[in-house]
């Protein structure tokens, strides 16, 4: 059996790895983004000079041949019908691959909102290898940058541009940074940290339009919702991502926001599956690194072992805001209060921890500047640990380096 995976991001590559682990099927991964899988969250470290793009590749180049996973660096132009039950994957180079099973792992693309001037030179997103390369060209002779969007990509872009010596302004819709996710205390702590790191952080501010210079050759400034102009020879639009569904839509596969799938990743067309950022379940899309990896692994079980429904485990995520690390397990509502959570903030450093509970039962834990043990946090949430006990036994959940200052919640 031949399985063709479209996309070599973490979802597609994880599926390929586990399909190889569980089976002897022929596996072909097609991508036009990069010849080899690289870690997308590591893009920012390439732009900051911490690593080369080569060093962001999670597997040595010899890995693929050794594991009989064929990599094709080409763009898929359409999915056609071949003879019999086969479908053909048509490539830009003119060749075509017959496939028994096709997996869409096409990821996502920046979601922009038709701003005036968004197609000007010097305006870009920051989600794929194309953006990575474009940024280097856009940085030549650039001094002032505006980042639009206060999400996880926005803060990465701001850190990258700041590290490259630019004056960076950041437009954030919410009143304080990440307020739609963070309770007020955490949001304020991170907001202060970003501002102190040297970014001109403008909360409660939206983008109105992007304006070109005199000769219209490149962006010159942006105008905010309050009518203010901010100089910018580079604008990064980081206002979220949306599933990449063009190819699926063209191929007659049912789509809505993403490619519609069952909880076994089946699309509307038999033997075509979708995983990762591009897939939309009944409950919506799941666009995280970790969920993409989980989709890939579970799909391999579905295909090779007829496994049942994919069920997402206890939610977790992590990020870094300049020097502040953040980890979350379970649910910590943004409207958490003293009545619904236990909160601790270090008096002398930028560290805090919150245990959210529902009538005394732990439902989520998150921390800034403190590392937490995933297995302990998940165990507490799964078995409904009492918040009082969790608070008392918090040391068992701390994953900080040796000699770190104690969390004295």
């Amino acid at each position: 059996m031949r399985i063709v995976i479209i996309g070599n991001g973490v979802a597609g590559i994880t599926a390929a790895r586990y399909l190889r682990k569980f089976s002897d099927h022929e596996i072909i991964v097609v991508s036009d983004e990069a010849p080899y899988h690289f870690s997308r969250p590591a893009m920012m470290y390439v732009s900051m000079g911490h690593m080369t793009l080569d060093q962001t590749k999670p597997y040595e180049d010899g890995f693929w041949k050794k594991n009989r996973i064929e990599l094709v660096h080409d763009a898929v132009t359409s999915i056609g019908h071949a003879e019999g039950p086969y479908r053909s994957v048509e490539l830009r180079s003119g060749s075509s691959i017959d496939a028994d099973i096709i997996v869409f792992a096409t990821g996502s693309q920046p979601a922009w909102y038709n701003w005036q001037g968004e197609h000007l030179p010097g305006v870009q997103g920051y989600v794929n290898k194309h953006d990575l390369d474009l940024l280097e060209r856009n940085l030549v002779g650039t001094r002032n940058a505006v980042v639009v969007g206060g999400g996880l990509i926005g803060i990465e872009a701001a850190e990258v541009l700041h590290s490259r010596g630019l004056h960076v302004s950041m437009l954030v819709r919410e009143s304080t940074f990440y307020r739609k996710v963070f309770p007020a205390d955490e949001s304020e702590m991170v907001t202060e940290h970003i501002a102190r790191s040297g970014v001109d952080l403008r909360c409660g501010t939206n983008l109105e339009r992007i304006v070109a210079g005199d000769n219209a050759a490149r962006v010159d400034h942006v105008v905010t919702s309050s009518g203010e102009s901010i100089r910018a020879d580079l604008v990064v639009l980081a206002t979220g991502v949306k599933p990449r569904i063009d190819l699926a839509q063209m191929s007659g596969i049912a789509v809505s926001r993403g490619i519609l799938v069952t909880d076994r990743f089946e699309t509307s067309v038999p033997n075509i599956y979708a995983i990762g950022d591009c897939a939309e379940f009944d409950h919506g899309v799941e666009q995280l690194w970790y969920t993409a990896r989980a989709h890939g692994e579970h799909l391999a079980r579905v295909i090779t072992q007829g496994d049942g429904a994919y069920a997402r485990g206890i939610y977790f995520n992590s990020a870094k805001f300049f020097d502040l690390e953040w980890q979350i397990y379970g649910t910590v509502p943004a409207d958490s209060t003293d009545g619904t959570s236990v909160f601790w903030r270090d008096a002398t450093s930028e560290r805090c921890l919150r245990i959210a509970h529902n009538h005394g039962t732990v439902i989520g834990i998150h921390a800034i500047g403190i590392r937490l043990r995933q297995d302990v946090c998940e165990r507490w949430i799964r078995k409904g640990q009492s918040a009082a006990v969790a608070t008392k036994e918090i040391q068992s959940a701390i994953f900080d380096p040796e000699f770190s200052r104690k969390v004295t919640i």
Binding site: P41, A42, Y45, G49, H50, W289, F399, P401, F403
Partner: protein, 364 residues
């Protein structure tokens, strides 16, 4: 760069490392390598050329050792100054991380006291120049019969202490401490080679080779060196016990060849000379027999490991990139596996550069 590092709120950043010609194998890195290599060649084989330099150190040498300076005193001074100056840089750079502060201070103190001042003072009082921080097989002659028998049987209490110290550290402390804390207790907290690597070598750590091929070469080389020094030590003892044996004449010749190839060329010229090109742990990784012993203990008889935090790894590769021992840390972390590698010196930088809090050094 250093001014920037001084003024930023938290300093553990590697901005621009891959574009730095000094740090990432540009022309200046080759120049540095030539400079370091050249210094070692002069110290080992053409010491007279350095005479004007060590004449400058005569006053200090007279105070510490009670005699005029020689090339070894010059070497020790340059080495210690490098550890102290670059150690201060480490303290500034990693100032938010207590693990790095404590181990860097320890390395600096051990280098200054046990490897520089105390051996010099021992010479001054007419005792034996002795380094309390080096043991067999890194300093093989310490367990040679000529040395150890004389020390243990000495009437002089200090010399006798040196003898028992050597035996106790080699036979008892090494396995016990490695069992509880891993090889890091020595390589990243005590050893002089480690002290220079962890301070002067820190800017070059990203240049270690992470390929599977390099790992294979490393295992062959480091264990071959260990096997050789075990054999040489055995020969020396055999020749001592039975001086009429036909192998006796070869024992000291074998030791001389080992001293030249491994002690001088490998640990000195290549070990430090290649810092800017292959990272600071070339000797520790490919050549040090002490590291080989500690590595075997660490792999098979130690509670130490680097643990991986669930599924939080984003495969970014910062850990692998900045591992000075060339361990592909990410290969383990992204599979959720603990890292238990013989070569890991427990410097802790993988855990520090991890942006998602996935790695932790633990003594389970």
């Amino acid at each position: 760069m250093s001014l920037v590092q001084l003024t930023v709120p938290d300093s553990m950043r590697n901005h621009g490392t891959m574009w730095s010609k000094w740090k990432h194998r540009g022309l200046p890195a080759y120049f540095l390598a030539l400079l370091f290599t050249g210094f070692y060649v002069l110290v080992y084989w053409f010491p007279e050329t350095l005479k004007p330099l060590f004449r400058l150190l005569d006053p200090l040498s007279n105070v510490l050792r009670g005699s005029a300076a020689d090339h070894w005193f010059l070497y020790g001074t340059v080495y210690t100054v490098a550890v102290i100056v670059m150690g201060v840089r480490m303290l500034i750079r990693y100032r938010t991380q207590r693990y790095h502060i404590y181990r860097t201070l320890t390395l600096m103190a051990v280098q200054l006291m046990l490897s520089y001042i105390i051996p010099a003072l021992l010479m001054r009082i007419g005792s034996k120049e002795f380094y309390f921080s080096y043991f067999w097989p890194l300093k093989p002659e310490y367990l040679f019969p000529s040395n150890i028998s004389a020390l243990v049987q000495s009437d002089n209490g200090l010399l006798m202490f040196m003898g028992f110290w050597t035996i106790a550290m080699t036979v008892v402390a090494t396995p016990v401490l490695t069992y509880f804390y891993g090889k890091r207790w020595y390589c990243s907290w005590v050893c002089g080679c480690g002290a220079l690597a962890e301070t002067a070598g820190d800017p070059f750590r990203q240049n270690s080779d992470k390929t599977l091929a390099a790992w294979k070469i490393e295992r062959w080389m480091v264990h071959s060196v260990l096997a050789t020094i075990v054999a040489v030590t055995g020969l020396i003892w055999w020749a001592n016990i039975d001086p009429t044996s036909p192998i006796a004449p070869y024992a000291h010749e074998a030791n001389r060849v080992y001293g030249f190839l491994i002690g001088s060329v490998f640990s000195g010229v290549i070990g430090v000379g290649f810092y800017p090109l292959m990272g600071a742990r070339v000797w520790c990784r490919f050549g040090c027999p002490m590291a080989a012993v500690l590595g075997l203990l660490q792999k098979y008889a130690s509670r130490f490991r680097i643990t991986t935090n669930g599924s939080q790894c984003i495969s970014c590769g910062n850990c692998s990139t900045y591992c000075e021992m060339g361990i592909d840390v990410r290969a383990y972390a992204q599979r959720g596996e603990d890292i238990k590698r013989a070569s890991c010196v427990g410097c802790g930088v993988c855990a520090t550069v991890c942006p998602r809090g996935v790695l932790k050094l633990e003594n389970h």
